[in-house]
């Protein structure tokens, strides 16, 4: 496949990362690394996909977690529905996964078509409003969603192709594979002509339009892709917790993803993932010493934002780019003399 040839380096890196993740999961004789990493897979996809909007396109969404939650709920609800698993048998889990992605994409298409026409603060407010809408639907439609209790009673996971998701090792490996595939998809998308069109829109949307770019449509495609990947994050969390909970659709969940991006950096591909890992570790460590975790984490974020004025990887990238640019400029001056 020519796509894999073009992205050979990234494909190899992805395979390498997957090998490491599997080695950790199967090699370490404790549940902790598996559980820690699985939760990173879920929220990492949420933060990474949100950064397609924030970092690459300049669209700050405050409501991204809605799609994360929707993916988890669709997945969980389908598998809890007896007729569904009875009909599909072995195919239940894969079909539920695909349906969760397709359903989230469709919902994002509708929401996005309304939101992407607006800019900046109006876009942010509208995405937040739609998230609160979904949150209240989940809370009030108790018969379907279990309301504030979430999806109770566990999610059935019929075995498929020898994969038994009730087994923690199988589940971990399955989540790791899905996570790595999504990361690779995002990498390809951001390094495609489409990805550079996103950067044009971020830098100067009006000029992009004058270069023949259909700005609204490109933004909408980005919105749908990023929301679908957030939905996959929700599926992973639903598998991990064997349930789905309304807090996933609460604004604080979106806020946490924004923190992760701010912490890790928005102009480097892996920045949000680093932010997710950092925030999760910070959270766990701080929890050992105090119950005022929010305050301590808030202070750390303040320090990063005010001290470095950007995420950690952005700081490193800017330093490196400045050096490269200065070197190139110096070479030009020399060659002109």
């Amino acid at each position: 496949m020519s796509l894999f040839r073009e992205f050979r380096r990234d494909v190899l890196l992805a395979l390498g990362a997957l090998a490491v993740l599997l080695a950790i999961g199967f090699g370490v004789d404790s549940a902790w690394p598996r559980d820690f990493l699985t939760s990173i897979f879920a929220i990492g996809l949420l933060a990474m996909s949100l950064n397609l909007l924030i970092g690459y396109t300049g669209l700050v969404s405050f409501g991204h977690a809605a799609f994360f939650a929707l993916g988890g709920y669709i997945f969980g609800l389908l598998l809890q529905w007896g007729d569904f698993t009875a009909t599909l048998g072995q195919g239940s889990v894969p079909v539920a996964l695909l349906a969760a992605v397709a359903g989230t994409a469709l919902y994002a298409l509708v929401i996005g078509a309304i939101c992407v026409r607006l800019t900046e603060i109006y876009f942010a407010f509208l995405t937040l409003a739609f998230q609160m809408f979904l949150y209240s639907v989940i809370l009030s439609w108790v018969a379907l969603t279990g309301g504030d209790q979430g999806l109770m009673g566990g999610i059935p996971r019929p075995v498929f192709l020898g994969v038994d998701l009730a087994d923690p090792y199988h589940r971990y490996a399955f989540c790791a594979v899905i996570f790595v595939i999504c990361m690779l998809i995002m990498r390809i998308v951001t390094e495609s002509p489409f990805g550079y069109t996103l950067r044009m829109i971020r830098d100067n949307a009006q000029r992009a339009a004058f270069l023949g770019v259909n700005v609204t449509r490109v933004k909408l495609i980005c919105f749908v892709v990023s929301s679908s990947i957030a939905g996959v994050g929700g599926v992973i969390l639903a598998l991990f917790t064997s349930g789905a909970y309304p807090e996933w659709a609460f604004w604080a969940q979106s806020g946490e993803a924004i923190f992760m991006i701010m912490l890790g950096g928005l102009n480097v591909f892996l920045g949000p993932l680093l932010g997710a890992v950092a925030l999760r570790i910070l959270n766990d460590v701080v929890q050992m010493y105090t119950s005022h975790t929010e305050i301590v984490i808030g202070l750390v974020i303040l320090f990063v934002v005010l001290g470095l004025r950007r995420g950690v990887l952005d700081f490193a990238k800017d330093w490196w780019v400045e050096r490269q640019q200065a070197k190139l400029a110096a070479e030009n001056r020399e060659s002109q003399q």
């Binding site: 390809i188 044009m200 000029r207 004058f210 023949g212 770019v213 490109v218 495609i221």
Partner: protein, 252 residues
């Protein structure tokens, strides 16, 4: 190639374009001059679909383009560079041109292929050579000189292989020497590129030297149209604002 017929545009009380009729023949090189606020930029905004005229027709090769969206008009072959260079600060010169070329070949929405495709890179390389920007190709657009930014803005328009190219004050904010260099490049692009080129400029020496046809605007109306000699000797133009002697430079 491009014809304006009785185009009118007003903003509240200000009539920025007052019954303007102009003809730009195929492959011609024309200048639009006039004092600040004469309506020159507005004229370009009308042609590119950024503004919609109150009345009148704008014909590109006999097709009325009034009411079309800017992106559609670009696709019809009208390219434009801006009075204040409109570029992409966080991309390099090369990346910007490649992204513009990608848009031209309808790849802006290609998600599953690597950037840049080879043909796009090659075309961007040609543009870089054409503009003489090879030394700065790998610099960020925010790190190049003002003159190079103006040049890149023109290059972005050229990436779309326009039939009609509109340049809004390509020499704005440049020193005298740099101006002549820039206008030399513009003239060369026109000679090599076979396109209808229209530029706005207020340095009269440059206009008289370079343009085939000159259109003088004042208060949104066309005051005069003609060759350099026609304009130089047009009593209305002289009386209006060129002064009595041979003109130096129109006040900006």
């Amino acid at each position: 190639m491009l014809r304006l017929e009785n185009v009118v545009k007003s903003f509240g009380g200000v009539v920025a374009t007052n019954d303007v009729s102009l003809n730009f023949p195929t492959d011609s090189l024309s200048a639009v001059i006039g004092p600040n606020g004469a309506g020159k930029t507005t004229l370009f905004n009308l042609i590119t679909g950024h503004l919609v005229p109150d009345s009148g027709r704008i014909l590109l090769a006999d097709e009325d383009i009034v009411g079309m969206a800017p992106a559609g008009i670009v696709r019809k072959g009208i390219g434009r560079a801006f009075q204040v260079a409109s570029i992409f600060p966080t991309l390099t010169v090369e990346q910007s041109l490649m992204a513009a070329v990608a848009s031209h070949v309808h790849m802006s929405e290609s998600l599953l292929t690597a950037f840049p495709p080879r043909s796009v890179r090659e075309r961007a390389g040609e543009l870089i050579d054409l503009l003489g920007m090879a030394p700065v190709a790998r610099l960020l657009c925010s790190n190049i000189s003002h003159g190079d930014q103006k040049l890149l803005d023109i290059g972005l328009a050229l990436a779309l292989e326009p039939r009609v190219l509109l340049l809004d004050e390509p020499t704005a904010g440049m020193g005298p020497e740099e101006r002549w260099q820039m206008i030399g490049t513009v003239r060369r692009l026109w000679e090599q590129g076979r396109m209808t080129l229209i530029f706005i400029e207020h340095d009269m020496d440059i206009v008289f030297e370079v343009a085939e046809t000159i259109h003088v605007l004042r208060y949104g109306s066309v005051l005069a149209t003609g060759s350099a000699d026609d304009i130089r000797n047009n009593p209305e133009v002289i009386e209006a604002y060129l002064g009595t002697e041979t003109p130096e430079e129109v006040p900006a």
